[in-house]
Structures are given as structure tokens and as C-alpha cells.
């Protein structure tokens, strides 16, 4: 945290996007997290992704629960809509907001405590409903705000700052999401923006629930020797499996890929993701194989990263429920609230 705000001065050569905005226009307030917190890097990656996607800031809603991670929506896109909800209840608020207005981009930011302990049920059902949103878990394996107790994502054998070992098995949000039928599951690392930024862009553009589990070290309570969520441990056991390049609609694929290892996937809005297999044995479209692979490598203490599973064919919440295309705030009052007679005739059908 800093006492002075980030100066408004910018590099004179700062590029502008299609909306005429610079990356600085996507920033938020000054972070009050600990110096060196991985979450601040994720914030910066979100700012970069929104800038590159040319998102109008007022067309985005950022949602969060409780925890260090859930403070971060204050630090990016200060001109977007936001809702900081009760602990673990961000998924239902996001579901409600999305149900009312499908025209916004929804980004939920949560942590391992918020999503995997108190909010686990909410998290699972948002996936099941396939709410069209990007759901980011900033995963550091500890409860930072309450001084470093193990969270539900702490690995067996990982040591707390004072030395005690975690004995309970972790919940892996990626394995769980794939098992629950999520159509976009990725893992990344706050210290690797080259991987993270395109994943965020693809996740925002994915039609349906997109989960990105970001290993985001807690510098204060979980960056010591013996921790399995430290910067050092993550880098040592980093295992990129599938790199995903996001290609906006109508843009050409410019990068050169070796034959056989590049795999373009077209998203709902016409944009593309080019998947680049770093690990040749991995198939990110085979659900059973993906779970098996994750299981196998996590047993070997490897942190598999990249776009782990993708399925663009699943209908999202509005398609499943055949809801109106129009945001509820745009519907004429008579249609939104057709009156007592309409209610009575509806009730009549159930008598």
C-alpha cells in the first residue's frame, strides 16, 4: 500500500486502443494490499486484458465476496459497475445481475477461502447454471486477512509460516469445475502475465462460465520456504501444458505455429483462441483425459497451467432458460410487470 496515489503522469508514447483509451484509463484506486501481493499483479493483468479487448468500462460489472482477493475490484476499472457481496455469495449476486442484464461483461474476483470454503456451494451452482461470466480465483492457500491459517486449497505437507504442516487434502477448483461440466477451465500464475492476459481475454469472451484459478502468492503469510504456494515453489514446479493466444474477431492469426501443435477454437462471438500444446500428451477438449492428467501431475506436485479444458458448445444460463434478449431495465414497464390480470391468468394455469 502507498500513501501517495499512482501519479497521473504517463509515458508519452503510451498506446491507445480502439476507444481512444490508454491502459491507465482502466486502472482503479490505489491498492491497499501488502507490497508484493500476487493479487496486484492479477489486477494489472485484468487492466491489460480489458484495455486490449477495447472494453467500454461502463459495460463491465465486477463482483466479489470477502477476502484480500475480493478487495481488488476497487483497484481496476474504476468506471465499471461493481458489487462487493457477503462472504462466499458473489456467485448468486452475479447470477442475479446477469439474469437482469445480459448485456454486460461480468468478472467475478474471489479467493480460495471465498470460493472453496464458505462459498463452495454457490461456486458449484454458478458453474452448473453456466452463468456467462469470468470467475477468477486468486488462490494463495491461506487466509491472509486473518493472518495466515491454511485454506481449503492448501496442499498436504505445505508448511505454515510458523512451521506447522497442513494435513487435510486440498480442493482443486479446476478438477472440480471440469467435473461439474464447466466449459472453460484454466490455471495460471500471477507472476506470468504473458500467459495470464490472453487467458483473461479468452475467458471474458467465452460464452458461459469461465474459471481461471490463478496461483497468487501471499507475500506476507505464504511466501516462505516449505510453502507450496510461494513465488519460488510455483516457479520451480510450473508446468505450462496449453498456451492459449486470444485472437479478436476478424483479426488474422499472425503468429507462426508449428504444424500439428496449434489448435484454433472459435468462440461464440467469432473470436478465436489458438491453443498451443506445450505438453504433447494433453488434450484440452477431452474431459476425462483432462481430469486424469491433472490428477496425475498434481500427485507429482506439478502445477499444471494453461487452458486446461474447453468446450464452446454448452448453452449458457439465458439460453437454457429462454429468457429475454433485452436487459430488464430496457424492457417497457408493461412487459416487465404486466399487472394483476396477467398474474391471475398465470395462476389460473396451476389450479
Amino acid at each position: 500500500m502507498s500513501y501517495i496515489a499512482k501519479p497521473k503522469v504517463t509515458h508519452p508514447g503510451l498506446p491507445r486502443n480502439e476507444l481512444g483509451l490508454t491502459v491507465r484509463d482502466y486502472e482503479g484506486g490505489m491498492s491497499t494490499l501488502c507490497a508484493g501481493c500476487g493479487h496486484d499483479s492479477v489486477t494489472s493483468a485484468i487492466v491489460q486484458a480489458a484495455f486490449e479487448l477495447n472494453l467500454p468500462p461502463h459495460k463491465m460489472a465486477k463482483l466479489s465476496g470477502i477476502g484480500c482477493s475480493s478487495k481488488t475490484p476497487a483497484y481496476f476499472l474504476s468506471q465499471s459497475h461493481g458489487f462487493n457481496s457477503v462472504h462466499g455469495r458473489m456467485p448468486s449476486v452475479a447470477t442475479g445481475a446477469n439474469a437482469a442484464n445480459r448485456g454486460l461483461v461480468y468478472v467475478g474476483v474471489s479467493g480460495d477461502g471465498d470460493s472453496l470454503s464458505i462459498g463452495l456451494g454457490q461456486f458449484a451452482h454458478a458453474i452448473r447454471r453456466n452463468v456467462n461470466m469470468l470467475y477468477i480465483i486468486e488462490n494463495n492457500g491461506v487466509y491472509g486477512l486473518t493472518k495466515g491459517q491454511f485454506s481449503a486449497s492448501a496442499d498436504v505437507g505445505s508448511k505454515a509460516k510458523k512451521g506447522e504442516e497442513n494435513l487435510q487434502p486440498p480442493i482443486d477448483p479446476c478438477q472440480m469445475a471440469i467435473a461439474l461440466g464447466c466449459g472453460f477451465v484454466a490455471r495460471s500464475f500471477s507472476g506470468d502475465k504473458q500467459q495470464l492476459v490472453p487467458l483473461l481475454e479468452a475467458g471474458i469472451r467465452h460464452n458461459g462460465f469461465a474459471l481461471i484459478d490463478v496461483i497468487s502468492p501471499c507475500v506476507t503469510f505464504n511466501d516462505h520456504e516449505g510453502s507450496t504456494k510461494s513465488y519460488h515453489f510455483t516457479r520451480e514446479h510450473y508446468h505450462p501444458a496449453i498456451h492459449a493466444d486470444y485472437i479478436p474477431p476478424a483479426a488474422e492469426i499472425r503468429a507462426k505455429y508449428d504444424e500439428g501443435c496449434a489448435m484454433p477454437v472459435t468462440l461464440h462471438d467469432g473470436s478465436q483462441i489458438v491453443l498451443r500444446k506445450v505438453d504433447p500428451d494433453y488434450d484440452p477438449t477431452d474431459r476425462a483425459a483432462a481430469i486424469a492428467h491433472l490428477e496425475q501431475l498434481s500427485a507429482a506436485r506439478e502445477i499444471v497451467t494453461g487452458l486446461l479444458y474447453i468446450d464452446e458448445s454448452k448453452p449458457e444460463m439465458h439460453e437454457l432458460n429462454k429468457t429475454t434478449e433485452t436487459a430488464l431495465n430496457k424492457l417497457p414497464f408493461e412487459r416487465l410487470c404486466p399487472g394483476r390480470d396477467a398474474l391471475r391468468s398465470l395462476q389460473q394455469r396451476f389450479r
Partner: protein, 605 residues
């Protein structure tokens, strides 16, 4: 790239653009912070240590620091460094008790100083406290040289000049006015241990075109004319005046003409505006007074009718420029006659030494300029030193002062039988400015304000007398804002690679995208793939050793860093620290009692 060697004082010195650009390496951010604290006398003394004449230079310095100022790259207009120097000088208290003490017991060495201009005065300033006996010879009846004779009083009031000159003369300099030296040979035969020549560049260039001598009364050589005005020998000029040349002397000539009764003053330039020698701010001041600057006119002929100058003929020029703005070709496209009553020639000046015999071991080169060593300022004759414009031709006061500092070291070494080339190197001291988790011992927030404008005396008022100072100096409120515009470039970002955990916090928070963690590579290629391309090749990159976790390197492009300290505030491991850089640039006093670099203190406390 190899890791940057930050133990070499030049690396961090270059980051302080103003101090690096200042010939005397004045600690600019240091004194600006003192002004910000209201410590005007301390700020004045810190200045005086490097540049000897803060009150004078705060008005008329050529300010090499300002075009170099980083603020000018970040925010278009540099900090008004020069005018802040004047704030310190105008608001200081009596400094007499802070000036060096002059020993009663002299060291038995006598030095002759030829000329009483800024160079000789600065040599005396350095040598008198060491017990030297300084004898200063001046041809005119007042000391000050060019500072008095060529700089008009409406830019530099006589009181300011006298006070700073007297600080030095009062050290006990044996000043001999109205004593021109006519023979170096004779001077050398007298009993001096060393001779310093600080006679300036007193010869104004002439313009040998037809008609030049047909009415010599009305064609003046700029610097001679300014001198006559300064000493009261000339007090009027015709209504229509043409100034030939567009350097700073021309600006002084045109503005002086307006104060002597001229109504229509034109400055005639041979080339387009981009090629003017005058400083931008001097051009602005002249144009504010409705001087017309006429471009692309090359003087051809003085037109004299019945023995009286009636005007001048000019060739109209046209130039071809290449893509970098350089002239590739020129041609005459016409001719124009401009009527006038007087012409002032301000096309340059030269040093001239008719009084130095050519057979006494002082070599002159093919341009008839003495051969002088660039480091020691010694001529080819041992014990004879040159400084100021006399050494390498016309520069400006701040250069002369630095020549004098260096020449004083040489004179001292010469007088004590030491090798003049064997000099103390520059040193530095770095002190952390960290006071607490988010507290630094400097004002690190970025001031958004634009450069303050110095208020001027109204146009009608200023022409009433020749010596009404046009610039009023900053008000207290203006100075308070202007000091905050300084980016504190001497508060260095110092990086310790082995502490870095590559969390990217510094990179994310940097407002001007200076920082990158990336794979190492050759400089040219590396410059292109930083967070923002590093395009100022003048500013070296700061490349760290390999980082412990990934073996990549931290690269900082110093070019646009605003020294806000957020990288260091956001660094969880203290790998970045904000450290105050103090340059140790030795003067002759350091030769007597060298200060250990870690004892160097900015504020003389």
C-alpha cells in the same frame, strides 16, 4: 548486456540530468529541496560551492540544465531551475559568516590573474581560502568583465553583480584596476608562482561587406557597443535599428536599443528560426518587447547616401532541409532594402591575445588560439593557465566557473611541485531515504502543475530607465509550486538483484512504464522489448544481475522515471530502495583535506 556498474559515480550522476548537464555539476535537486523547505541561505551556499555566482547566474545563466531536465521529457516544460536559483539568492540572509575563512598566515605563493571577469574571480575564490596571494589585473575601471560590460542592467542589476564580486574581492584579492597587461613576457618576469589568463573573448566579429566604413559612426560592434552603454559612454541610438545576428548578444543589443530611444528594431537572421543561436527564452523576452525577428536575410551591403547610413541591402535566402531538419542546400532568391539609422553587428566574438608574445613557450594553434589542456587548463608553458572564454572561445559564465575550479586545482598542484594531471576522481555517496514503510525523506508525490511564469515589469514602465530589471522573480506562492515540479532525480532507484522475488509489483505500479523483467539480450534488441521502448539512447539502461528465481534480469529505462518511489514502496523485499545520491566533485580545497566520500553531505552541516 552486462550488469550496470553502479559503483561508477558517472552512472547515477547521468540520471540527474540537470547536474550532469551543468558544467559545474551544481546539485540542482539538492538546492531545490532546500528552497522547498524555506532554507534559502543553505540553498544559496550549496549553489555557491559549485557555481560561485548564484545571484548572477540565477538571472543570466545560459541554463544548460533546463533543456536537459527530465521534467521536460515527461511534461514538455522543464523545471524553472535558473529562476529558482534566483529565489534562493533573493531570499537569503547575510552569508558573510558562512564564507570561507581567509588565513592570516599566507602560504607564500603568489598568483597573477589577468582580467577581473568571472573566471579570474572564481579562481581567486578557490585559492584565497588556501592562503594564496592573488593579484588581479583589470584593464577597465571596474571588475566583473563581461558580466558587467556585456550584460545589460535590465537583466542583471549592478547591486547583485557588485555584491557577489565583492564577496570574493573582500577575501583580500589585490585588485589592480585600469592596469591592462600589455606583455605576457614582462608579467612572467615578475615574481609570480603561476599566471592565470581569464581575459575572455573581447573581440567582436566584424562584417566586411561593401559600405562597412562609409559611415562608421552608425555601425557598431555589438559587444563594444554594449560595453560603452554599460559604462555610460553611449546613451542614445537612432529610431530605426538593425541588429545583425541572432545570438544572445543580439538579444541584448536589440533590447538595449529600445531603451536608448529606438522605436523600430529588427533582428536580421540569415537562417530560419530553428537555426538561431539565441536561447529560446531570450528570444521570447525580445519578442515580448515587439522586436521583429526577420529570417532568411543575408547582409549584402551598407547603403550610405551623402555620408550618412540610410539602410542595408540583404539577399533573400531559401534553404532546402533534409528529413532531420538540416540544411542541404541554399540559394539567393531576391534582394531587399531595409532603411535604418544604426546597425549593430552581433555575429560572434573571439578571444584575442595581442599581448602574448609568440616566443615565450605558449603555443598557439592555426586559428591563433592558445593550446590549452582540456583537463588541467595549462598552456604549453608550465605555470601559465587559461580559463573562461580565453581558453576555448566564447561559452558562458557557468563554463568559466568550472574552468576556474579546475584551473585552481592545477595552480595549486603546480605551486607545490605536484603533477597537474594527477587529480582526485569524482566520487559519490548514496544514503537511503527510507523513513518508514511509506515514508521517504523527500517529497515523492508528483506535482501536476505546469511551469510557472516569471512575472515581468509592464512594457511601458520598463523602458523608462536603462536599469529597470524586467524580471521580477517568482512570488513565494509560485516558488512553492515550482519546487514541487522537480522530480528529485538525485533520489536514485537502487536495485539489489538477490533480494528480488519477481512478484512484478514494481512493474505494475510504475506510472511511466520504466521497469521490465525479461530475458537478457544485446542492448539494441533489449531496448525494443521493454514495457515501453527505451528510445533515448543518451540515457543508459540500468540492467541488474541475474534474478535468483528465473535468471531473467530487471531492466530500468531511466529516461522517464519520475522518482515517485512507488517501486520501492511496493517492493516486499526491499530490492528497490530510494537512495539520495551526493556527487563528490573535487575542488582545490579537497586537495588539501580530501573528504572521505562517505562523509560527503549535501547541506554542509
Amino acid at each position: 548486456m552486462k550488469p550496470t556498474d553502479i559503483s561508477n559515480p558517472d552512472y547515477f550522476h547521468r540520471v540527474v540530468d540537470c547536474q550532469w548537464a551543468c558544467p559545474a555539476h551544481t546539485d540542482v535537486p539538492g538546492y531545490i529541496r532546500l528552497i522547498a523547505q524555506g532554507r534559502f541561505t543553505d540553498a544559496y551556499m550549496l549553489n555557491r560551492k559549485s557555481n560561485v555566482f548564484p545571484g548572477i547566474l540565477g538571472r543570466v545563466c545560459d541554463r544548460p540544465c533546463e533543456p536537459a531536465c527530465r521534467r521536460g521529457r515527461v511534461d514538455e516544460k522543464p523545471v524553472a531551475i535558473c529562476r529558482l536559483k534566483r529565489v534562493a539568492a533573493d531570499n537569503r540572509e547575510d552569508v558573510r559568516d558562512r564564507l570561507p575563512k581567509i588565513p592570516q598566515q599566507k602560504n607564500g605563493k603568489r598568483v597573477a590573474l589577468v582580467g577581473a571577469g568571472c573566471a579570474s574571480l572564481a579562481v581567486a575564490n578557490d585559492l584565497m581560502p588556501l592562503g594564496y596571494e592573488c593579484v588581479m589585473f583589470e584593464a577597465l575601471d571596474k571588475p566583473g568583465g563581461l558580466m558587467r560590460s556585456n550584460i545589460p542592467a535590465f537583466r542583471l542589476p549592478v547591486e547583485v553583480l557588485d555584491e557577489e564580486i565583492n564577496m570574493i574581492l573582500d577575501m583580500g584579492v589585490d585588485l589592480r584596476l585600469n592596469t591592462p597587461i600589455t606583455s605576457m613576457k614582462a608579467l612572467l618576469e615578475e615574481d609570480y608562482d603561476a599566471v592565470f589568463v581569464g581575459t575572455g573573448a573581447p573581440k567582436g566579429k566584424n562584417l566586411e561587406i561593401p559600405g562597412r566604413y562609409d559611415d562608421p559612426e552608425h555601425v557598431h560592434i555589438g559587444i563594444e557597443w554594449l560595453e560603452s552603454v554599460a559604462f555610460g559612454h553611449i546613451d542614445k541610438i537612432g529610431e530605426r535599428v538593425l541588429i545583425i545576428g541572432v545570438g544572445n548578444t543580439a538579444m541584448d543589443c536589440c533590447r538595449t536599443s529600445l531603451r536608448l530611444g529606438a522605436k523600430d528594431v529588427k533582428v536580421m537572421a540569415r537562417k530560419p528560426r530553428g537555426f538561431f543561436k539565441a536561447s529560446e527564452w531570450e528570444l521570447e523576452d525580445a519578442e515580448e518587447e515587439h522586436v521583429e525577428i526577420v529570417v532568411n536575410h543575408s547582409p549584402k551591403e551598407f547603403v550610405v547616401e551623402d555620408g550618412k547610413l540610410v539602410g542595408m541591402k540583404f539577399d533573400l535566402m531559401e534553404y532546402d532541409l533534409d528529413e532531420r531538419g538540416r540544411i542541404t542546400d541554399s540559394r539567393v532568391v531576391g534582394e531587399e532594402f531595409l532603411p535604418c539609422d544604426d546597425v549593430v553587428l552581433a555575429i560572434g566574438q573571439e578571444n584575442a591575445f595581442p599581448w602574448i608574445e609568440r616566443d615565450i613557450g605558449i603555443e598557439f594553434d592555426k586559428w591563433d588560439v592558445p593550446v590549452v589542456d582540456r583537463r588541467t587548463y595549462e598552456s604549453t608553458r608550465k605555470g601559465v593557465f587559461f580559463g573562461g572564454d580565453a581558453a576555448f572561445g566564447p561559452e558562458n559564465i557557468i563554463w568559466a566557473v568550472e574552468h576556474a575550479h579546475q584551473a585552481a586545482i592545477s595552480i595549486h598542484k603546480h605551486c607545490h611541485g605536484e603533477n597537474v594531471a594527477d587529480r582526485l576522481p569524482d566520487g559519490m555517496h548514496l544514503t537511503s531515504t527510507k523513513m518508514g514503510i511509506h515514508e521517504w525523506s523527500y517529497s515523492n508525490d508528483y506535482e501536476q502543475a505546469e511551469r510557472m511564469l516569471v512575472p515581468h515589469v509592464g512594457l511601458a514602465e520598463r523602458f523608462r530607465r536603462l536599469d529597470i530589471e524586467v524580471e521580477l522573480g517568482f512570488s513565494a506562492e509560485q516558488a512553492a509550486v515550482e519546487v514541487e515540479r522537480c522530480l528529485n532525480c538525485d533520489i536514485q532507484t537502487v536495485f539489489t538483484a538477490k533480494l528480488c522475488i519477481e512478484c512484478d509489483a514494481c512493474i505494475d505500479v510504475c506510472p511511466v512504464d520504466c521497469l521490465t523483467i525479461t530475458a537478457n539480450g544485446p542492448e539494441e534488441e533489449l531496448r525494443g522489448r521493454l514495457s515501453a521502448p527505451a528510445q533515448n539512447l543518451e540515457q543508459p539502461l540500468y540492467v541488474s544481475a541475474e534474478l535468483p528465481q528465473t535468471g531473467r534480469v530487471m531492466v530500468k529505462d531511466e529516461d522517464l522515471c519520475v522518482h515517485c518511489g512507488l517501486c520501492a514502496e511496493r517492493c516486499p523485499t526491499g530490492a528497490w530502495d530510494m537512495q539520495e545520491f551526493t556527487l563528490y566533485h573535487p575542488h582545490v580545497e579537497d586537495e588539501i583535506a580530501p573528504v572521505a566520500p562517505d562523509k560527503v553531505r549535501k547541506y554542509g552541516t
